[in-house]
């Protein structure tokens, strides 16, 4: 059945709890590296945009074509050759929440 098209809801801001002590947090559009100075990376592989959701042997791995990245987003293994995009965010240390602009 065809539904009337809902207004596309583009995610502008994502608020994420740092979830205790987890070091790497995967979300739909971003990967949060939870450390003293957190880093937020885009979860879109720079090769073709596949969602990266695997952390193996210290590497972020793309499931579609096998690209691997380090926790700074630098490519370690192709086919991707460019760094994962670093996303802007604000950190509320009191509430341990991170707000990310996507």
């Amino acid at each position: 059945m065809i539904h009337t098209q809902r207004k596309s809801k583009k995610k502008e801001v994502v608020r994420v709890s740092l979830n205790g002590n987890r070091k790497v947090l995967f979300h739909e559009d971003c990967i949060i590296i939870n450390k003293d100075e957190p880093v937020v990376l885009s979860s879109h592989c720079t090769h073709l945009g596949c969602r990266i959701q695997t952390f193996e042997n210290g590497q972020l791995i793309c499931p579609c074509h096998g690209s691997a990245f380090d926790l700074e987003g630098n490519p370690l293994k192709g086919p991707a050759i460019t760094q994962l995009k670093k996303l802007d965010f604000t950190l509320n240390k009191q509430t341990q929440t991170i707000t990310i602009k996507i």
Binding site: D36, N57, C62
Partner: protein
Amino acid sequence: MSLLKKIWPFSSFGQISLALFFICVISGILLAIPYDVNDAYNSISLMMLINPAATLFRNMHYWSANFFLVFSLVHIWDHFSAKAGIKLKSGIWLRLSIGVLIILLAMLTGFLLKADADSLQARRILNELVGGLPFVGSLLSTSLLGSGNSLQVIYVHHIATFTLFIVVIIMEHHKTIWPGLKEIIWVILFVLLFSVLISAPLHDGMNPVIKGPWYFVGLQEILHWLSVPQMSLLIVLLFILLVFLVPYGGVRNQFITKRALLILTIIYLFLTIIGYFFRGSNWKFITPADTNYSYYVYNPFRSNGFAFIEKEETDKVNNSPKVFGRKEGCLACHDETTGFSASHNPQALGCYSCHGGDPFTMNKNKAHKYMELIPGNLATAEKSCGTTGCHTEIVDRINTGLMANLSGMISVDRYVFDEQETPDELTTVHHLGNSAADEHLRNLCVRCHLGNPKTETGPVDERSRGGGCLACHLNYNDQSLAAHIQHKNNDQDTLYLSVHPSVDLLVSDEHCFGCHSRSGRISTNYEGWHETTLTTEEVSDSVKYRIVEESRVFRKMKADIHHTGGMECIDCHNSYELMGDGTRYQHEEEQAEIQCSDCHFNDRPNTMDLNEFDQESAIITSLRFGFTDGKKYLATAKRNRPLINTFVQNDSAFLKTKNSKQIKFMKPPASVCTKGGAHSNLSCSSCHTAWAPSCIGCHNAYDDKEPGYDMQHNNFITGSWVEYIGEYQAHAPALGYRENEAEKSVIPVVPGMILTIDKQSYDPSEKDSMLFHRLYAPAAPHTTQTRGRSCKSCHNNPVALGYGQGDLEFKIISDSGKWTFSPKYRNNPYDDLPEDAWTGFLQERSGDVSTRFDVRPFTIEEQKRILLVGACLTCHDEDTQVMKQSLIDFKEVMDSRGPSCVLPF
């Protein structure tokens, strides 16, 4: 092609294609009724669970579409190879050539409309691929795929834009949209056959393999090699262009174009085969020889099990929770099961993520057909505990750990059987051959490894061996245990189905006991039990003795101080030691990470903040202790990993036990440990070990009539190696010297292998094959005591010095001193040393002396130095001032000794 046409009952491939398209359209219209574009994945799972008619239409839609693509291509090629050639107007032929692309797009949009894991990633890829085109990329991407997560635009293109285009081009070149009756009947039967037997694929959301539709898997393989992915679009365009060019030019040009097209197609087919059959998770290369190959390659397809669904079942499915964006049938039936840990709540994870089976059916047999009743066995762990989003990283590395591969044990055994040059070769329990040593291992040793599967339900107890993840993480409470026992006694009892055991982090000493009460007997030592050669009939005192596994008799000894203090195995040993850390180690002492000095220190400790933790330690800390920021944690000196259950406060170190959450103060070493540096090269355990078990004088022979057990394959056999044991003893261990680049220290050792092996009994062709070895092994006895050994326990003890038991006496005759030794045991004829000795009294042994190349007995010079102090201790008590002073400056004490002091050397 001509042969095919001769046996082909239809007028043309075009007619077949048309019939397939007709079925595809009709089934698509029927499928659109239950399909919900705004909850696509869930609506398809619901169809598969409670709507057999919709499932059949979906399958027919899928199979007719795929065969339509195949037959359309065959139809085109058929015309290419016909003598008459293609006699269409240029405009129509152009639209037909573009039609190939449109058919692919129609199918691709159908693939995207599943909205499962494959589809979601494919949409991202398409978005990036099309959006990355210069100038028109963004416009094209939005027009083709829409924006956000909505499937609306894709849906419209699928059912309208592309379908209409296909209808138009069919009409243009065929003049009618209606297929022939014969074709339609045969094709319906053909499609029905496939649709009844094999369902249209749907990703389960757990399988780590992400693949496009089969006709784009070749492109996925190309993209794996292309760093500039937009180049792949040129390949698609080239294909369409070649199709268009075939009818043009002279005969020669047409031949070249057709050959180019053929070569391109063959290459693409080859890449498709590689991509489809030889690529697994993370696009890693796999072959059918790899374990779980079929799980990675064929998983999205399922056999069908159509059945009429009762209303009650429909309600159950509708009321069951949505898991990973879809329904699964398991939760409709098993809706009231309790007992799970919070981390494994089925309302969030479902049943399928651990137990497999088929989540998209209400047919009980089909749902349970490929189910793992006992998940977590290492052979299948990547499908259960190690599935996507769960514990993938651990399952990937677990076989690097010695508890899984047994490399050290196997290597030492082969070395002792003279089958390899060193005891340090890396190997695995899965690579045992047929040699004498390997058969010996299979008969007597290799039952204890994590890969040994758990095959029966029930709690882990002292009879358990292995069991993969469950070996450590399975826990039954009173309810689940009672239900399990009830079911064992009466298999009709189903209470066990509603009380599930827990899989959690409560790893108790009982989990370790089954395996670690053997060989080095660390578990029993730790709890203060020493194995004897007594039989159960000989003992009646249940306080002094304990019966293990119904027949092994253990005698009460002093327990390890950490055990007495309430600590369990996992309070010292972390996840990387127990589940491997990705590095292969030759022996257990290399893999073990914790050292006494990590917790008991005088200097500044090695500490770590929470934000320096690795991912795994951080997660485990969070699960065990909640959010615990702001603490200073101790870290191991060996690999700088956090000891997550420790903290440093006001310069004192504390430990919080992982299971019972008791806080313990961790004492620094006593001053005597470091006083004067006299004992600076002694390991803590060389002094603080209360006792260690040992056995001496065993003989090994193969008996081809002995009823035996193949521990590798878990089956009873006839013919086995038999170990004729000597004597079990328990006393303060001998000491030896470990010397390598990283370490120079005195360590406790035990007579690991003083034995004879009759190799000829196994292989009659072996002549003069009676092997004799006198090897001691480094030990980690786990019988720590607060107070270290007395001075005499080492300096005046023949066992400590490696001579074996006997009378070691310092005699002074006529102002001259002399050490003498009378062994308790007779000399062994093979090497003329006492049976239990490691080295002769004031003799030196080197070479083949230990199960490690870097461990040896004391040299003559070292023995003399030890015995020199032993001579002093003969007259001076260890608490006297002179002996205390000797720790600080031994030379000064020697220089200032009186005339009554008589020395041996």
